[in-house]
Assembly symmetry: C2
Homo-oligomer: 511 residues x 2
């Protein structure tokens, strides 16, 4: 593995009067013989004695890439080169997930995720930004909340596999621009305020100790392209590598915000917009995150709604993938029309609840007309981002080889249902790929492959950012996309065909 850290076992000659080079030079020249030019940190110089003497000059050197060269960060007795670990963290505004990686094998040895402790200062990013604005004390609280969340992950990892963070050389971090600003203790008001020039977008390698992360080397924060296209997207691109494809691809990270990249090795056209918290179960009255108790799958059969509950217990609410299934099933069965309006005559499960129509998708749990309307805006926004970007880049959907939908939503949602409601474009389902947490995957990638650093520069160079909010067409296109699956049915041939087939079957059954 040629990552951003190395562990090299050296068997050095013991000093003699004829060869009394310093301990430092022995290490540096020993590494040079292995093809590595390195400097030694003060901490590692302090470890030379008595270690080298007691170990007969058989030591293992930890090397950390620091942005422009290799730094020796640690010396250990004997050959510990097989114990070579690194950490990768996806610093999300809601969840912070850290992986412990065996840098010899590339294997993920442990993973730990916790809610971002910054939630105490606001569930959404904007609240947090306002909380910190022009208050160094509040900013410091926000910074340490991020660090503490990571430390919580590290503690759990240590408890699980017995490997301390001090045994890890590097940590890579992918996070959006706000998250990285907070981690570094930087004011993040710039992210959401015109002219959207942020403070730091390429922090690079910073000493772990400076950030408060007890790794032996550095913390590398993925660089971002702009305020809305942060290191999580750069990292996601590094994971799916559409910038290496000859054919055109789409990378779509849908969460609270949606970030979209269309391109290949020639170009990367990017956009970002508020996809809506609906996807994470927000806004919707009984919405919840995809945790125990959430309905994540819905099927209507013989007039009954079958809801699958995460954890197999009692349903407590519905998460994004459940909503998409529910809407698709309601639509396929004609319980909602193409505008998403509930048709109470179609099922006794549709009833009035406090002045609004609602469908009871699980015992005592209702999905309201307002919830549907809200979600339709979300799905229309998501679809329109893709459509708009295709238009902007002069590319037709047929030319797209793959559509990556990253993130937890993409991973859990049924592709079929997402196409049915017109959220995903209607293409061959094998071309719709759900790679999961690409932000975290990209963080692991760079840990294990230093050449990704060059690729990141390439990615940043190629990325061209288009602001959706700035274009009038966007809203018109989105309005057309509010229908199920779309005002223009020609855009959804497989859905149209499926609906026609069902109508045919219904008619035949009706006979």
């Amino acid at each position: 593995m040629k990552g951003i850290s190395r562990k090299i076992y050296l068997e050095l000659d013991e000093p003699t009067e004829e060869d009394n080079r310093s301990g430092q030079m022995r290490i540096i020249e020993g590494l040079r013989a292995e093809g590595i030019e390195a400097r030694m940190s003060l901490a590692s110089l302090k470890e030379l004695y008595p270690l080298c003497e007691t170990e007969g000059w058989k030591v293992t050197v930890s090397l950390a890439w620091e942005g422009s060269g290799w730094m020796v960060t640690r010396l250990e007795a004997g050959d510990t080169s097989a114990k070579h670990y690194g950490l990768a963290t996806d610093l999300g505004s809601t969840t912070v997930v850290t992986r412990l990686v065996d840098c010899c094998t590339g294997q993920v040895l442990a993973e730990s995720g916790h809610y971002n402790r910054q939630i105490a200062y606001g569930t959404d990013i904007l609240t947090r930004i306002f909380y910190c604005k022009d208050s160094p004390e509040a900013l410091e609280k926000m910074r340490s909340a991020a660090v503490d969340t990571i430390l919580e992950n590290l503690k759990e990892i240590e408890e699980t596999v017995g490997i301390r963070p001090e045994e890890c050389i590097q940590m890579t971090v992918s996070g959006n621009t706000t998250m990285v600003h907070f981690l570094l203790g930087l004011d993040a008001f710039c992210v959401f305020a015109a002219p959207y020039a942020v403070w730091a977008d390429q922090p690079g390698f910073l000493k772990g100790i400076e950030i408060g992360i007890p790794v032996n080397g550095y913390v590398f924060c993925y660089p971002g392209k702009s305020n809305y296209l942060g290191g999580d997207i750069t990292s996601g691109l590094a994971a799916v590598k559409i910038y290496k494809e000859e054919e055109l691809c789409i990378f779509f990270d849908i969460g609270t915000n949606g970030e979209l990249v269309i391109g290949n090795r020639e170009f990367l056209l990017c956009g970002a917009g508020a996809a809506g918290p609906a996807l994470e179960g927000g806004v919707v009255r009984t919405g919840m995150r995809a945790v125990k108790g959430a309905v994540d799958r819905v099927r209507i059969e013989n007039g009954e709604i079958h809801s699958h509950v995460l954890g197999e217990g009692k349903a407590e609410g519905i998460c994004g993938s459940g909503i998409v299934d529910l809407l698709a099933e309601l639509f396929k069965n004609g319980w909602i029309d193409l505008r998403g309006k509930l048709e109470p005559e179609k099922s006794p499960l549709i009833e009035r609840q406090g002045g609004s129509l609602a469908v009871e998708y699980a015992p005592g749990l209702f999905f309201f007309q307002e919830d549907i309307d809200e979600f339709l805006r979300t799905k229309a926004a998501a679809y329109t981002m893709v459509e708009y970007m295709l238009m902007e880049s002069g590319v037709s959907l047929d030319e797209i080889l793959k559509v990556y939908v990253s993130g937890a939503f993409g991973k859990h949602v049924s592709k079929e249902s997402a196409v049915t409601i017109g959220m995903y474009p209607d293409i061959d389902r094998t071309r719709l790929i759900s790679p999961g947490n690409t932000s975290l995957d990209g963080a692991v990638e760079v840990l294990l492959d230093k050449s990704i650093l060059d690729e990141i520069d390439e990615i940043l160079d190629k990325m061209v950012y288009i602001q959706f909010g700035a274009v009038e067409d966007f809203l018109q296109m989105m309005t057309a996309a509010l229908a199920l699956p779309h005002t223009d049915l020609e855009k959804f041939p497989s859905v149209t065909e499926m609906l026609a087939r069902r109508r045919q079957m219904d008619m035949e059954e009706g006979d």
Copy 2:
């Protein structure tokens, strides 16, 4: 000035929606336009806001060379590029001297020196080394004593000229190998124990904060060549630049130890040995350092000893330059013979004091026969180093263009007296140069001229170390040099001639 720090005033464009590059990129690209590739430290990233906004993006950037590239370490409001300071410290085992340098003009604005606080743990280096050996606690005391002495200098400098260390970017340090080991918290037993392989000889640039020095950038420690040829010698060479001369030169740093370098741009042959603390007033019974109350000049006229006292008050003892003068005068006037034996019949000032002969060189102050014998060993060692190195390099004294005798002793001693007693070689006095504290001068040099860093590598490459202790000839040669000026008078033609002239005059007066 093209030193190891820079201050660059930037007038950057304010961000607009069309150009919303990050603050970080504005600084980096602003510097790039000035021809400087730099990274930004976390501290400087944190200074971007609100500074850039309040100052209309007119800021001054402090840049510190960190060994492989430039690091932005600080941002300031407006144009402060004229306030560009650096610090240079000569970390001596006895005295620690720091200069504050105006890096725009190269001018030394202030200088402060204090006794090394490590003296509390031993006046000589060996005692200190044993004190620390295998005791991390004692080593930490030793380390912080060095740092505290430097901080004392910085405090005095601040009190004198009102410039705080935080306003300085870099500090350069020249010190011998032991001193640098202690400063970094490294065990220094290696310096004096076979096989004389030290731990760190090229520490390079370390963050000020890591060392405990509150500069804004790094602390650069001059690299050493070997245990006895430390950074103070490399620094001294960088100051006198004999490695650039076409003709052969000698660099001789005499203090408690003597380090000698002979060479030119082709080669640098080096040796080191215990010159003896006698030169700094040690060993000799009434010896003292060259401070107030010390006799620093002696003249015998009409049978009377005229002693000049530093500070013009009452004599309290005698320092190195006073001793050399005293011995030269005693010898010229025949009060001691060529073996240095006091001849009591020559002056009533020579009398028995507690069983030993002694000469009263100032009211109530005596220089004893044992003191003379001790000092003759010192001067013989010093002379023999030069003679031995000339022999080793196959060079005759006539081929030597200049002899630099650096250090406080060299600066204060009378060249004429030093030649008379056979301590300095008998060459044209204009070729005997006393450049003063070259260790400190070299530290200032690199602060102001980054290209010295390359020259240092060149110096280290060229240096070839010869251990005096290892050669048998050395002791024989030293024995011959114990006489005044030398057993072989042909080596001292000007002294021989002077003595002959005096004898002639005495005879004429006697007529």
